[in-house]
Symmetry: C2
Subunit: 186 residues, 2 copies
């Protein structure tokens, strides 16, 4: 990014790992790469779902998409395998200090997490309260319980502190969610 008068904004010199200008998505991507490189688990982010309308072929070997639209995702963003188990989750950032708005998750994503659990997979959310620098694991079962038992349109942070598990910020892996999976499932 270019700033006026040659000023470069520095993002990465902060001491706190959580506050170093990395998004949750970036943190999870480097975490997944760490898991893969160290033969711990195979978990990938799915590509963004799009519908392609127009493709140009400027040369025989090159194809350039000239028009496409974003689709509403029908599943979650991340999945893979860990210790033989199917792992499936979504990662969400949230600015509020008090609650996580449920309109961050589509209805069919919730249905997807339910199906995953019914078929013996492990489904969950990773939610980062960015203002508080707190990242929580919320098991799919706890998410479903909350939705079934409440009419609220957001999950209060209390529910995360009581029913979720805090994922402490580390150097690497940055967001060690498989350690939580170990505690909960193995």
């Amino acid at each position: 990014m270019k700033y006026p008068n040659g000023v470069k904004k520095m993002h990465k010199n902060n001491v706190s790992y959580a506050n170093r200008g990395m998004t949750l998505e970036e943190d999870i991507n480097v975490t997944n790469k760490y898991y893969l490189d160290n033969n711990i688990g195979v978990i990938h982010k799915k590509p963004t779902p799009i519908t392609i309308n127009k493709v140009d072929y400027p040369s025989r070997l090159e194809a350039v998409i000239k028009e496409a639209h974003f689709n509403t995702p029908s599943t979650t963003d991340y999945n893979g395998v860990y210790k033989g188990k199917y792992i499936d989750f979504d990662a969400k950032e949230c600015k509020s200090k008090t609650s996580f708005p449920l309109n961050n998750i589509h209805q069919h994503q919730i249905e997807h997490i339910k199906s995953i659990i019914n078929h013996g997979g492990i489904g969950f959310l990773i939610v980062r309260f960015t203002t508080l620098n707190l990242t929580y694991y919320l098991d799919g079962n706890k998410l479903i319980s909350f939705i079934n038992d409440n009419d609220r349109k957001s999950i209060p942070i209390d529910y995360f502190t009581k029913e979720g598990i805090l994922i402490k910020d580390r150097f690497q892996p940055r967001v060690d969610y498989l350690k939580v999976i170990d505690e909960v499932y193995f």
Copy 2:
């Protein structure tokens, strides 16, 4: 599709299910939908991996991708969960009557299948010899063995008949690969 003089080309009246103008990808997509609708398993095709270079916002609610490129896939196309197990595979069509060219699979896709198996997942290929109307399941272990034991650049069809499992064409589910998984793994 509109044809001149109101003539409509019929695709779906053939008796053979394999020869009805459906691609293997289409067959697998409807098979996965059948599995999902009938609560058998949750398996999805991943979106096409792309890099987005330019996005326009013609209105506040609309985003249109104006330039993007296709990426080389680093994983396989399909994954999900069945009876608690992680399922991961790629589906390939092949015109040859005698062999399946290995350049249909990228090296990192082979590495991906190896990793999947090492972590307790089930990895495999579905290969359709389109000219012969034959669709085979080839287990990831058999694929890896072949590559380790041979210098050949293609897998002869004999290897599929001996080491693979023929997936018979059905009305629905069209390509019942989970039945094969049942035989091999459960």
